[in-house]
């Protein structure tokens, strides 16, 4: 346990904060601009304005920026180790190999959570400046953001594993972008989208005005695809990191 917390602090110290922050802001800012332009569209009569704008803001963020940035961060937090040969530094210190994997996974989860918070923050900022903030049902948008975070966890684990595997910065990134692109098609497809990990953040973040618990995810999808997928990728990455040769 001590190893884990000490490593977590070390990982935090190693983060290139300026770079990370600017990357974190890109998605939410661009998405909010889309949300802003949507204000001049015809809003469907049966839809409250705040939901419509949220939906428009969330659209591009959830299927495009969010999963891709997850991959970028995964590659970034392994980049130092790859380029400066610092894996061997990490693994010759008297710490367990598992805690190395766990601390990196935790940092990535924190970053994806931060991304959700910034996204919500930008949406609220838009709402305040456009004067519809008081109409927002907080539970709906917070549930959407939280569900999106849970839904991205399999991608987190898989991308982290891929980033451990490849020395190059580009490979995990390209893999991630290629896997994000089918989202355009699967998000519309009823049969495929519940099973495709990269489309989970989008499905999970669709705002649901009904009282549907803390998560707006189908139980089947939640347990099989998200939970199962996360366990597989997290366990696989962990086993691989702790067993393999580090040179």
């Amino acid at each position: 346990m001590r190893d884990f917390f000490v490593l977590l602090c070390a990982e935090w110290k190693k983060l290139q904060k300026g770079l990370i922050l600017s990357l974190l802001l890109i998605g939410p800012i661009l998405s909010t601009l889309v949300g802003l332009t949507s204000l001049s569209m015809d809003i469907p009569a049966d839809m409250p304005k705040w939901i419509f704008v949220y939906q428009m803001t969330m659209n591009n963020y959830a299927w495009l920026f969010y999963p891709i940035m997850t991959g970028v961060f995964a590659a970034l937090i392994c980049r130092n180790e790859h380029t400066q040969g610092a894996w061997k530094l990490l693994f010759t210190w008297p710490i367990s190999r598992s805690s190395v994997w766990l601390s990196k996974a935790t940092i990535l989860m924190i970053l994806t959570a931060l991304s959700q918070l910034l996204f919500l923050g930008m949406y609220y900022l838009l709402a305040i400046t456009q004067g519809f903030a008081e109409n927002i049902e907080a539970t709906v948008v917070w549930r959407s953001a939280f569900s999106g975070w849970i839904a991205v966890l399999p991608v987190v684990a898989l991308q982290l594993w891929v980033s451990h595997l490849w020395k190059s910065f580009g490979v995990p990134l390209v893999i991630n972008i290629l896997l994000s692109i089918p989202n355009i098609f699967t998000a519309q497809s009823e049969q495929f989208s519940p099973w495709y990990p990269w489309s989970q953040p989008y499905s999970a973040m669709i705002p649901e005005p009904t009282e549907s618990g803390i998560l707006s995810i189908e139980p089947m999808t939640l347990w099989v695809v998200i939970f199962g997928g996360f366990l597989l990728a997290f366990g696989g990455g962990w086993l691989h990191t702790t067993r393999r040769d580090w040179t």
């Binding site: 130092n80 380029t83 040969g85 010759t92 210190w93 040179t247």
Partner: protein, 304 residues
């Protein structure tokens, strides 16, 4: 009795079908500077990686401080500092920040950071980003990181690689002081005999993954059997005569050479030559230099 710090038993590592390290029995005693010597590709780095638990042996055992590395990895690594191949660092952090990250992980007091910076003379550059460091400075930072936890065993893999002559000299002096001033044992690898010769007390020579010599520098010198040179007139004919007697001889420009001989054998040859009316004007024993011994050992039967 001096304690054994490193002991490997039949240590073997294969990559696919090629055996890169084969049945190596490394033995390093406390307070020694052990020079691990071998040409490039001999298996030094692979052995060192196994000692540090970075890669797993295919066969054999590793004991550090008398404990099994596989079973007590963490408590063993607490007592070991290392620098494997090129130094590892975080380029976007300063030298001091790099050490600070390591310090927290190792759990040593923060004043130790300044101590090791002082030891490797990086105090001036402590607040510069490491990516702006010269190679020599990065190497010294690597050493500082290795020293941070006050290790009992320091493992340095080719620490002078890429340094300029004065940097090499400095590194050598630095390493030589460690056992005396800090009671450390040191394992230092190199592909250059001259370097090991100047700092090591013990040597292990590895070639094609096999340990071909292990012992003190003086016993390495004794390894070489001196050769005999006979200065003889009409050397070619004289050599034929000796060869017909069943002696293995070779003719070189400066005379006839044989393997080392006992006193009787020498006397016998001289007598033989003289009775056959060859003029013998010089008989001498020629010792090989360490360099020649090393080359002899490492080139002998180049095909494994």
């Amino acid at each position: 009795m001096t304690k054994t710090v490193v002991q490997t038993t039949q240590l073997t590592r294969r990559y696919g079908k090629t055996t890169v390290v084969q049945n190596v029995n490394l033995n390093i005693k406390q307070g020694e500077i052990y020079g691990f010597l071998g040409p490039n590709g001999a298996g030094k780095t692979t052995t060192i990686r196994m000692l540090l638990g970075l890669i797993r042996p295919s066969e054999g055992e590793i004991q550090l401080f008398g404990k099994d590395l596989h079973k007590e990895r963490k408590s063993i690594l607490k007592r070991v500092g290392s620098l494997v191949e090129s130094p590892s660092y975080y380029g976007h952090l300063t030298g001091k920040e790099n050490l600070e990250v390591a310090r927290r992980i190792l759990g040593v007091p923060s004043k130790r950071v300044d101590e090791v910076l002082e030891m490797v003379r990086l105090t001036q550059a402590a607040h510069k980003k490491v990516k702006q460091y010269s190679l020599g400075m990065k190497q010294r930072l690597g050493i500082a990181t290795a020293l941070l936890g006050k290790p009992e065993l320091l493992i340095l893999d080719e620490p002078t690689n890429g340094l300029d002559p004065s940097g090499i000299q400095e590194m050598r002096e630095f390493i030589k002081e460690l056992p005396r001033e800090h009671g450390m044992s040191v394992l230092v690898s190199s592909h250059l005999l001259s370097e090991i010769e100047q700092m090591a007390t013990q040597v292990g020579i590895i070639r094609n993954g096999k340990m071909i010599f292990q012992g003190s520098i003086t016993s390495l010198q004794e390894q070489s059997r001196p050769r005999m040179r006979f200065g003889v007139g009409d050397a070619n004919v004289a050599a034929q005569l000796l060869a017909s007697e069943g002696l293995s001889v070779s003719v070189e420009e400066d005379g006839i050479w044989t393997e080392s001989l006992s006193q009787q054998e020498t006397a016998h040859i001289v007598e033989h030559l003289v009775t056959h009316r060859f003029s013998v004007y010089r008989v001498e024993e020629v010792k090989q230099s360490l360099e020649e011994i090393f080359l002899g050992l490492t080139e002998e039967g180049e095909t494994p």
